[in-house]
Amino acid sequence: MSDISKSVRKTDAAEKISGKALYVDDIKLDHMHHALTVRSSIPAGLIKNIVLPELPDGYYSVGADDVSGKNVVKIIFDDQPIFPTDKVTYLHEPILLIVGPDKAKVKELVDQVKIEYEETKPVFDWVNSAIHYHFEKGDGNRVFRHAKKIISYDYETGYQEQAYIEPQGFIGYLDDDKVTLIGSIQCPYYVKNAVIQALGVEENQVRVIQPSIGGAFGGKEEFPSLMACQLAVAIQKIKQPISMMYDREEDMLVTTKRHPSKIHFEAAVDKTNQILGFQTHVGIDAGANIGLSGVVLSRSLIACTGAYTIPHLDVSGDVYLTNTVPNGAFRGFGAPQMYFAVEMFMEHIAKDLGIDPLTFRKRHLAKQGDKTSTNGTFRDPIIMEEMIEKAMEISDYQTKYKEYQDPSSHKGIGMSWFFHGCGFTGSGEANHIKAKVKLRKTKDGFVHILVAAVDMGQGIRTTLRKVVAEIIELPLERIIFDFPDTDFVPDSGPTVASRTMMIVGGLVARAAKEMKERFQEIEFTVQKQYEQPSYIKYDEATFQGDAYPAYSWGINIVEVDVDPVTYITKVLGSWSVYDVGKAIDERIVLGQADGGLAQGIAYGYLEVMRHENGVLKQKNMTDYIIPTAMDLGPMETVLYENPYAFGPYGAKGVGELTLVGGAPAVTKAIEQAIKKRIMKIPATPEYLMELVNHG
């Protein structure tokens, strides 16, 4: 048997390079209408009156009165209206659609809609807590009584925009009585279930199809459900095919972003300079709706010990509502904020204690058998020590670190350690998702993978086929994985949370094993459903137990040079070592590694987005700066194998792991270069100048 990690040509490479791949905006239907959105012009207030212009024949407005089902977008926390009825909670909130055959005319009509408001005072401070969580491990904060020293710091993180290549969009049409939607989405069944509730129809009256997707990064997890519900209501009313495409600027102004956070840390340190416990509070800005924010907060809180074992914890957090654009899912999902804070905190504690940070961190590094932050157990082997040695060797870390300690040096090197829990937090997989997959053998001897997993560029159309081909021992060409269509594939869950290969791929592998045994049968289908490993127990209310079935681990090292004249950080290079269990395709994993780290490093020092009184200041790709290859220097990645028993061939999660450590690695490097402490990200030249001047 060959090694499955050996790379094959990516399934979608030829169609994308040649331009043949069809994205949603490439699909043209006869009599296509266009929907544009009328949006609020204030961040908070009551809608007193809506005055529509006279609509020509064939032009329609679609709003709250047209919603035949429940006027709320079904996500995890259902608090977002499809169309608001009486109040506005953020700037550019969608209020109604104008639909018609000529897009220019539709735009003209949108501009003529007059909405009268009674403005109310918008809330931008983080005072309105909608969700509060608290949990303890060991003696909680009571351990602080035994502390020899207490060290406390506060950290802040900013927005991050997904900046996927393809803005959000849908087309939809009525097929008999069935509303059919084709969209740029990550989660076909989230969309389908939201639309069923919005229209108040039967399950078989809604169909959702995925075309080629130009990137998502979490940005197409929950937001598309809002668009889909609005469009479905319009289709139900007008009974014409409708296209609803966001332009880049509209997309950036109104879609979800990474939650800004404020993280407070206190550490109790004993007389041997060992950490007894942490007391931590995390605040995140949800924007105008809760949506997924509670789940984002959970992941952040659970990551509060970083890659270390801390015996006693008192952990709390709040989701704050503000009159700003709602925030949501983004690769890492609460973990990037926390890894920045906890990695800097560990560094700052060591410096305050006058100990070499590396020695101090190694003493606290988590080991197999240790208790997690939620009193679960790291059951599987942790090979971080070996990986750290490797990372330091390939980057020449220690020589450089010593050299850059020189006060006259403008260079720095930083190293982050991290893990990422694979799959949904807590019992989500077993209790909420209950993934189902099917494999179907057809008469012609082909095997069809029937799952709702979306290939948004990360390569699942290639890697899932490899798993099945390898198990059944068929050539790759005989395995078919068409784009998901909810009329034909079961709900294998959303394409999120680094779960697709480990969870969905694990189920597909189980189905493939059964199919192989029955392969002499001419035509048949095998179905598998997720079963939680029996030893995994978790209580969501108390945050106690195993929050994840498995963990991927990683190390990022980043080297920088900070110009003392301009305070500009130049990234000289980066080195990464990852344990993702087993790479199903080495080149695809390395691609995720480069892209994820680029996004993570940029989160730490480059990407700036902020609002002033609810108005986002960076609203296009000219002003929202993401890195180019020139900004990153050479990147080297080494993969370690450490198979997980329930992942296919031992595979664990990849996608998010590669992002979460980037920010602290670059900010630690900057910290060494400027000899000042970095307390917030992005660490822009403006911020570094302030530190050099004053701090």
Partner: protein, 279 residues
Amino acid sequence: MVEGYIPTSLSDALTELANHPYRLVAGGTDMLVQHHNLKTLPINFKQDVMYIANLSELQGIQEEEEFITIGACEPLESILEHPATPKLLKDTILEMASPAIRHAGTLGGNIANASPAGDSLVPLYLMNAMLEIQSKDRTRRVDIKEFITGVRKIALEPNEIITKIILDKIDFTKATFRKVGPRRSDAISKLSFAGAVTIQDNLVMDFRIAFGSVNITVVRHPEIECQFITKTVQELKQNKEHIVSLYREYIRPIDDQRSNKEYRKQVSLNLLRQFIDTI
């Protein structure tokens, strides 16, 4: 509905312009962005447009004994590659936009756009660039600093076209352009700086300083520069903080989505210090 006109020659363009007002489009690399529309809808121009980038009379680079002339619609990338182009201008173009945009964008367009963040304006002010401007009935020459009158404001009559940019050939001892942008390529400047000096027998014979993106247009003050002509290099260097203080009041940047005024001011002056240090 706006009309577009594509002239076949410069005289055709000037004749048409004499009769009818048009918005001129050269490479369009900023103008099309400014007038962008929803995708699939036409560009949102507010008045009729004339596309002049293809006019051969507006292209080419000629090297004379004392000066070089650059066609107003010569693409930036071709200027970058031309052997006669002054090094300072090459260094600047290399920092502008991306190669793809530089193949479309033109020097005349960057001037007429008159953005406070227009990178090429900084070396052009420093080199006392002259512009040749034509209408149907006359040709005139104007200094770039007289031509740009404010933020996106220029002294161009509705019937005129910029045809050439004329640069003196100057052999500076040292000439530097520094762009401070949010990333290493393909971004709009937070600020920019150009400095040039000519030294003969240890005496400063020419000294020029220009700053971009820190005022409504490029900051250049010959009356400050001339105070240091015929000083020795050592005297110039000893006067570093004095020189910085003379420029301080003219650096009046703003806060915006790209940076803030404190940063722009401090870094502009740091670049001036660094330039003097490295003479």
